[in-house]
């Protein structure tokens, strides 16, 4: 079992004819990902790595039953591509490119909520269900099937956490990179809830960092969770960052430092790992 992505997921690649799209299509297929089609408006009818290309996502849904999409397109087109996937009825959309305008991602998030889709990203490495499927740009080297779910704002931290979990013999159910852009399609609390419902996931590792309020917003969810949450927060010693401005601080509440985030998550019942090595130790203490 897993969340969001399994070997049965029917995956399309939006922007499959581009450099990144075709390169990662090959990689993902080699890992076992069930890539059924790709899109590239104006190039419908071609193939890339033997994968059929269509002009639109809706054709991929109608013809191939696609239910999952990974987007590899320049930032200015990626937001609309995500909307296209959502409108076509695709249930999980991974937005890999970075630097997507905030307004575009807000529209994507709104459409996803209205139409019952899950969007991961933008600026995400994607997600991987080890041994089953890999959607995005995650290097599969460090991953192994297992019983811990991971969710992280950063791609590289996802890899390091999996590296440690695999090394310690736990393995992972699914590893989700939320993405690094300012507005994200999914945040911690939504992914945590999915993991909580997944029988194969025994514990969850979440990796956050200074800035934003997505960690704090997960607090009510963590309090209600049936599974333990181990968390890391990057930026404890970071130089004070820049802020969006006064009004931003008001609407988003007190933008926490790493330390206030750590305190909030500990209070909610989370277990703090300072380094990756702490993670297996905590799991052992919890007899997982």
């Amino acid at each position: 079992m897993a969340i969001l992505l399994t070997k049965r997921s029917k995956v399309i690649v939006q922007g499959i004819t581009g450099g990144g799209g075709s390169f990662h299509t090959k990689r993902m297929m080699e890992y076992g990902t069930n890539i059924v089609a790709g899109t590239s408006p104006g190039k419908g009818g071609q193939t890339v790595e033997n994968v059929p290309v269509r002009n639109t996502a809706v054709e991929c849904v109608e013809e191939f039953g696609a239910d999952f999409s990974v987007i590899f397109l320049p930032a200015q087109f990626a937001g609309e591509a995500a909307l296209e996937a959502i409108y076509a009825g695709i249930k999980t959309v991974v937005v890999v490119p970075e630097h997507i305008p905030i307004a575009d991602m807000m529209k994507v998030r709104k459409a996803a909520r209205e139409r019952g889709a899950v969007v991961i990203g933008s600026n995400t490495a994607g997600l991987i269900t080890p041994g089953e499927a890999n959607a995005g740009i995650i290097p599969d080297i460090a991953f192994a099937p297992g019983r811990i779910g991971t969710v992280s704002r950063s791609g590289s931290l996802t890899y390091y956490v999996a590296d440690m979990l695999t090394r310690a013999g736990y393995g992972e159910t699914t590893c989700v990179g939320l993405g690094g852009d300012p507005v994200l399609g999914s945040t911690f609390d939504e992914i945590l809830r999915l993991f909580d419902k997944d029988d194969s996931t025994k514990a969850i590792v979440m990796v956050g960092e200074i800035g934003g309020v997505y960690e704090e917003r997960a607090v009510p969810t963590i309090e209600k969770l049936s599974k333990p949450v181990i968390f890391m927060i990057g930026g404890v010693f970071a130089p004070p960052g820049k802020r969006m401005g006064h009004a931003g601080a008001i609407v988003e509440g007190n933008l926490g430092t790493a330390n206030t985030k750590i305190a909030a998550l500990e209070k909610a019942g989370g277990y703090h790992a300072r380094t990756f090595m702490d993670i297996p130790e905590i799991l052992q203490r919890l007899s997982i």
């Binding site: 791609g155 390091y160 309020v213």
Partner: protein, 396 residues
């Protein structure tokens, strides 16, 4: 991207927001000329990309014409949080009856656009929000929602404006909103929005931050001379060099040069060094998919920093592939050479190819690799970080 006050006001003007009369001065002479044209009293406002100008003495109100050149000279000598004052906005001073606040921003947590108004303007709005939350009034909108005149009029009523002023306020709020949406702003603030003695509402200040990622939609800004700019204050020579190369870089106090891969680990890696008793010499971000050229330059910044005793390198290849990473390191070694001990770990996408590139280059010129300890996935990253701390201690 933050705008200068005068740039923001230029844009506000396009949306019908009433502004003080005035002009832009690059010299004391110009300041004097503008003052003469608009008449006393005037306010001289230093144009810098940072807040707290007032407290730093960057804003002067004056009613004697003869004092203007001297005051301007004084301001042009000022540096505010590292920003030299190069331009003054010279404006007719307003007869202030009341100072209000009006701002629009993105509430990322709730995925909303938030319009905020308060009758307590001219001061730090965060303080007002903390001490008098009842004085903060807002309208929350979905991204595609229009902002209606009746909502703005309601807001005007909530902050206690008299009936005869609510339409003027609404016009300004709707103009600000239209600006905000049209230019993909992240923040658009009028603080204070002044109610003058003669009953006019005028935007005395203007603060705008645009979404850098949406600038491609706003080619007209370039025509107005508004281009992507750096918003840091005073930079160290190395930071200036890094900026020229387009590398996010910050000098820190320590002695371990941080050569990170991946944005997330860039932050976390610094924490690790501190946890293991070391002190990073810098913060740096490689960006997604850096070229060998860029990676080589990142190493140059570290190697040439006399404060750096050892270098800690980490690359988990995702969108940034290990082969490119290896090429960058080899390029640096060949063209520049490494003078400090370096420990690094490389794994992830294309790591085999990365290792092959290293090994070939090492075979060709083994001397270049003498100071490098190279590891793959066999060792956890923590041990690499610990080793960097050791190396710095040994070198110190």
């Amino acid at each position: 991207m933050r705008l200068y006050e005068y740039e923001a006001k230029k844009l506000f003007g396009k949306y019908g927001i009433p502004l003080p009369i005035g002009g832009l001065a690059k010299s004391a002479k110009e300041a004097e000329k503008i003052s003469g044209e608009i008449g006393m009293p005037v306010v001289l406002k230093s144009q810098v990309l940072t807040g707290g100008r007032g407290k730093a003495g960057g804003i002067k109100i004056e009613d004697r014409a003869e004092a203007i050149p001297g005051l301007a000279e004084e301001l042009f000598k000022l540096k505010i949080k590292g920003f030299p004052v190069q331009t003054l906005l010279v404006e007719k001073a307003l007869e202030i009856k009341k100072e209000l606040y009006l701002g629009i921003t993105i509430n990322r947590a709730e995925y909303k656009i938030t319009i905020i108004a308060s009758d307590s303007g001219g001061v730090d709005i965060e303080t007002v929000a903390a001490e008098h939350p009842e004085k903060i009034h807002r309208v929350e909108l979905e991204i595609d929602d229009p902002f209606y005149s009746f909502q703005a009029i309601r807001l005007a009523g909530e902050i206690g404006l008299p009936s005869e002023k609510v339409r003027d306020f609404a016009k300004i709020a709707l103009g600000l909103f239209e600006f905000f949406k049209s230019y993909d702003a992240k923040l658009a603030e009028i603080n204070p929005l002044v109610l003058t003695g003669s009953g006019d509402l005028i935007a005395a200040d203007a603060r705008v931050s645009l979404d850098d990622d949406a600038l491609f939609r706003h080619a007209d800004l370039k025509d107005m001379g508004i281009e992507k700019r750096h918003e840091e204050g005073e930079l160290t020579p190395r930071e200036t060099q890094a900026r020229e190369w387009g590398i996010p870089y910050l000098d820190l106090d320590g002695d371990i040069g941080m050569f990170p891969g991946g944005a997330g680990f860039g932050i976390m890696g610094n924490d690790f060094i501190r946890y293991f008793g070391g002190q990073p010499a810098n913060f740096m971000d490689s960006g997604g998919g850096p070229t060998p050229e860029r990676l080589s330059r990142m190493l140059v910044l570290l190697d040439e920093n006399p404060q750096v005793k050892a270098i800690f390198g980490a690359r988990f290849g995702g969108i940034s592939r290990c082969d490119d990473f290896a090429k960058g390191v080899v390029k640096f070694l060949r063209e520049h050479g490494l003078s400090k001990p370096m420990v690094m770990r490389m794994t992830g996408n294309m790591w085999q190819e990365g290792v092959r590139i290293f090994e070939e280059a090492r075979k060709e010129s083994p001397e270049l690799f003498e100071k490098i300890e190279f590891h793959g996935i066999e060792k956890p990253i923590e041990e690499i970080a610990k080793r960097a701390v050791e190396l710095a201690r040994e070198a110190g």
